[in-house]
Amino acid sequence: MAVIRDLNKDKMDVVEGSYAVAHSVKVCKPNVISAYPITPQTHIVEDLSQFMADGEIPNCEYINVESEFSALSALVGSSAVGARCYSATTSQGLELMHEILFNVSGMRLPIVMTIANRAVSAPINIWNDQQDSISQRDTGWIQLYAEDLQEASDMTAQAFKIAEDKDVMLPAMACMDGFILSHVYEPMVLLEQDLVDEYLPTYAPEYTLDTKNPLTFGAFADPEIYTEFRYLQQKAMDNALPKIEEAANDFHKVFGRYYGGLVDEYETEDAEIILMAMGSVVGTIKDTIDGLRAKGVKVGLLKVRSFRPFPVEAIHNAIKNAKVVVAIDKNISLGLNEGALFTETKASLYNTNIDMPVIGRMIGHGGRDIPVSTIEKIVDEAANVMKSGISVESQYADLKEELL
């Protein structure tokens, strides 16, 4: 199923990305929101604060905290009593949450956070890349990446549905590129309350903290049983794979919009070159593909919506007939010189009968602009790989040699 949008102008508003997400959170009827400002996420919690002040979110507590560490810690307790919980953060704020991210996932609390993706310090940089959330990939949180405002907005409701599914019960990050999506204004359809009520069931966890019926959450696990906890977390991730597809399909049924489930494909059917990417760069890549297709270049795009769980099967199905695959990353694992999407895609192909060259190109770090020309250069390199094999497996595609 290709991307399906709702272009009915009567239903559309022109809003900022942060407002769209805050509105989505509002109609998902959260019970507790914790807030600590950090650029470029701040507008989201500011808008939510305004909704609270205007009495638009009933039965909800808005907690101002003194750090991101506290922002997530406050939600641990709130979620355990059965509250639907939300926060938003980015960059250093997300890194400060690192310890609690593991706790939330291990305690199986389906908290949803928006990550307005931003580069990490030092050097301090407030612009977009995806190093912040990618660096949290092993914390046991579902990670979804949105392409544009409409998807970021819609993904918020999907994230609650997936996270709170009784077969999943894992926290989720709905990632949107900082500034590029959080601060841009686009025409879009804001989520309608009646449709969200139809789409998203009330959160009713099996266990809740309750003074009348005391239970222990986050108990100690010795070597006799710790392994089984980790196994069950991984199993929940496996369960999330079909649930992410299901959430997208159900969303389509109720709202009429669709952007793919675990992945989405664009012009991949006969593509020799397939570019893989996550987030807003996908839009630039689609434009580039349109231009190159007009010149007869057989290039397509595999948009990865879900990075955790990593959709190995969906990726293999999409790329198996290509001649070369390029993974495009807005992150780097220092010491390996590869982005995560590249490393994991490449690793997933080993021990299979899918045999093709895969290269990785890192671009757009710290908010560096990604013009069509950068993508075209990458496609040229991929065409060379088809002809004469891999010369450089992984590198920055937009490095300024003159500064070195």
Binding site: Y207, L215, T216, F220, A221
Partner: protein, 86 residues
């Protein structure tokens, strides 16, 4: 026993996890010196000092980790810490 979601458990479930094996020194009472002041019972962080019918106390060695607080605080030096040996 199977693991519940997130390891949620009922109160008292750590009783199965006997921590007495962590002990290096074992507290031992000298009942001739004990004046039944209850400080050991009050100060034990692991609730491992149990009241006896006769008003004296005894240790629950299944859970006593041998921290020695009771021996340190005892006003009559009625508790000695004895090295655990096999």
């Amino acid at each position: 026993m199977s693991i519940r979601l997130g390891g949620v458990c009922e109160p008292g479930s750590t009783r199965v996890n006997k921590t007495g094996g962590w002990r290096t020194f074992r507290p031992v009472y000298d009942y001739d010196k004990c004046i039944k002041c209850k400080l050991c019972e009050l100060l034990c962080p692991d609730m491992s000092v149990l009241e006896w019918e006769n008003g004296y106390f005894q240790f629950d060695y299944d859970f006593c980790k041998g921290c020695g607080i009771c021996a340190n605080e005892c006003p009559k030096n009625a508790i000695s810490m004895v090295l655990e040996e096999k």
